[in-house]
């Protein structure tokens, strides 16, 4: 049974989240209160919104959510909706919101398979990559079923295709940066629009758990 929320051991979390350690332990109930604004777009269960490209949050590890809120606050992720919200959150609130969404499990229907050729192209990229273009398989870091590895490599399986696409494009056009070691910046920069569409469609169609 897949581990749902890999709460990272000391290993990789330390360096990445040391700055984020809140004064009090993260609290789901406090998080529910702090998340009232988030709920408007990401839903109370973290299901997000496929049509509008708002990501599912229930798939993310808590530490990953905290890191991303910090990235919005610092401007490493440029997004007119998220940046003002993130700027108003303190570290305690970020940790609480992360704990809240970390405890959710959204029921999101698998998108209908429409384009078999696109899905096949995506499957190949996701599981084999394209090494002649120095594109490693998504599974190399995001896990054998792309359900995430620790706090640094988020789950992709079951995430909305619209969101995966927008993020790969964000790395390409420079509105998202500061991923660890530029790992995604490197890969996204080598993907074509068609690669991005295919990988996103395939990943979205995979079971999240």
């Amino acid at each position: 049974m897949p581990q749902r929320k890999p709460f990272l051991g000391a290993v990789t979390a330390v360096a990445l989240t040391a700055a984020a350690i809140p004064a009090a332990a993260a609290d789901v109930e406090r998080g529910r209160q702090a998340a009232q604004t988030c709920i408007a777009c990401h839903q109370a269960d973290g299901a997000g919104n496929a049509a509008l490209g708002y990501p599912r949050l229930d798939l993310f590890a808590e530490d990953y959510i905290i890191q991303q809120l910090q990235h919005f606050k610092a401007g490493h992720r440029q997004n007119p909706l998220m940046q003002p919200f993130a700027r108003n959150l303190n570290e305690q609130q970020m940790a609480d919101i992360a704990a809240y969404y970390g405890a959710q499990q959204a029921a999101v229907p698998t998108p209908p398979a429409t384009d078999a050729a696109l899905l096949a192209q995506g499957e190949k990229l996701v599981h084999q990559g394209d090494w002649d273009r120095h594109i490693p398989a998504c599974t190399s870091c995001h896990g054998p079923d792309n359900r995430g590895v620790g706090a640094s490599f988020p789950a992709l399986a079951g995430q909305h295709a619209s969101y995966i696409e927008s993020q790969l494009q964000a790395w390409r056009n420079g509105t998202r940066s500061h991923d660890p070691l530029n790992l995604m910046l490197a890969v996204a920069g080598r993907m074509t629009d068609s690669d991005i569409k295919a990988a996103a469609a395939y990943l979205a169609a995979q079971p999240a758990k």
Binding site: M1, P2, Q3, P6, A10, V11, T12, V14, A15, K124, Q128, G129, W131, D132, R133, H134, I135, P136, S140, C141, G143, P144, R147, V149, G150, S152, W171, R172, P180, L181, N182, L183, L185, A186, V187, A188, G189, R190, M191, T192
Partner: protein, 325 residues
């Protein structure tokens, strides 16, 4: 007659394409020499598209591919650590500078300095199992050995037999470092560039029990007889392949330092061990002059132990010597 020019042109086009798209994080790899044979190994898609291949052979090649990509399926039988072939031979064994495996099919049998005798392709594969996988090779002539051989040979499709001037072979070389490789500097490079995947303790990461990122030392890693235990070999692998997707990211000095740091850690015993690490080092100095085995680092002699990791024996029978005298 194979066409070097044609192949070179094809390769340049690929490079030009990726250079155009990859401007954010450049790929920095050595240039090929003008006289070298440049091979473009076929892909699985090519295998499926090639109707001249008998379906039964296709099945065997795919079996070989599957064993190569997920060698952990042979754990406890042939593999006694956390490694799969693909961990060191990136890109399905096709990748330049990532020890592409097809040259083994076109240059063997040949004399190898590692064991001072002529080796077949099966014996070369057996070497990987004995050292890098800290294991016991599939039997010579067995189904699994045949499948692995078939995958190697098929990747070599179209390559000239016994051509040895091969572009992108092995891991390449990293120029001698300006400063002697250093443990503390290497540790810093490791923490900054490698720990995110391989863990701060170098023990890799698992997902639901499946190895996601392999350990780099300790019982789950390659043993003291593996080529990767050589500091220069590891430096070249790292320089030209790590972090994933960013060949050439580290400076030469950083690659040497981190290779030294990784290979200054303990790992399972060299299967050729006799008497002591110092004795074994001396006996196989042709190999071990490039490792830290049997030398003192941080106050202890590396390899001076009888730990064979999860492997319940020291030396597999497949490692045998022969003479034609």
């Amino acid at each position: 007659m194979y066409s070097r020019i044609l192949m070179t042109t094809a390769f340049s086009l690929i490079m030009a394409h990726s250079a155009q798209a990859a401007d954010k994080v450049p790929v920095k790899l050595p240039d090929f020499e003008p006289e070298q044979y440049v091979h473009t190994a076929p892909t699985l898609a090519d295998l499926d598209a090639d109707e001249s291949i008998h379906p039964e052979l296709r099945k065997v090649i795919k079996r070989g591919y599957d064993l190569f990509m997920n060698t952990q399926q042979l754990r406890g039988e042939n593999v006694f650590n956390d490694m799969s072939c693909r961990n060191c031979h990136l890109g399905e064994g096709r990748q330049h500078w990532s020890a592409p495996i097809w040259p083994a099919a076109t240059t063997l049998p040949d004399y190898r300095d590692k064991n001072w005798q002529v080796n077949s392709l099966e014996e070369r594969i057996a070497g990987c199992f004995s050292y890098s996988m800290n294991g016991k090779p599939p039997a010579y002539g067995s189904d699994n050995m045949l499948a692995l051989v078939a995958y190697h040979q098929w990747l070599a499709r179209g390559a000239p037999v016994y051509e040895k001037n091969i572009a992108g072979r092995g891991f390449g070389k990293v120029a001698d470092p300006a400063q002697t490789p250093d443990y503390q500097r290497g540790k810093k490079v490791f923490q900054e560039n490698c720990a995110i995947c391989h863990g701060a303790d170098g023990q890799g990461q698992r997902v639901n029990g499946v190895v996601q990122f392999p350990p780099l030392w300790g019982d789950g890693a390659y043993n003291w007889g593996a080529g990767m235990a050589r500091v220069d070999t590891a430096a070249a692998f790292i320089k030209h392949n790590m972090p994933l997707g960013q060949p050439g990211k580290l400076s030469d000095q950083e690659a040497w330092d981190v290779a030294y740091y990784i290979n200054a850690q303990e790992r399972p015993q060299d299967p050729r061990f006799e008497k002591s690490a110092a004795y074994t080092r001396e006996k196989y100095l042709n190999f071990h002059r490039r490792t830290l085995y049997g030398t003192e680092v941080n106050g202890r002699v590396l390899g001076e132990h009888n730990n064979t990791g999860a492997k319940p024996f020291l030396k597999p029978e497949a490692l045998r010597s022969r003479t034609f005298d």
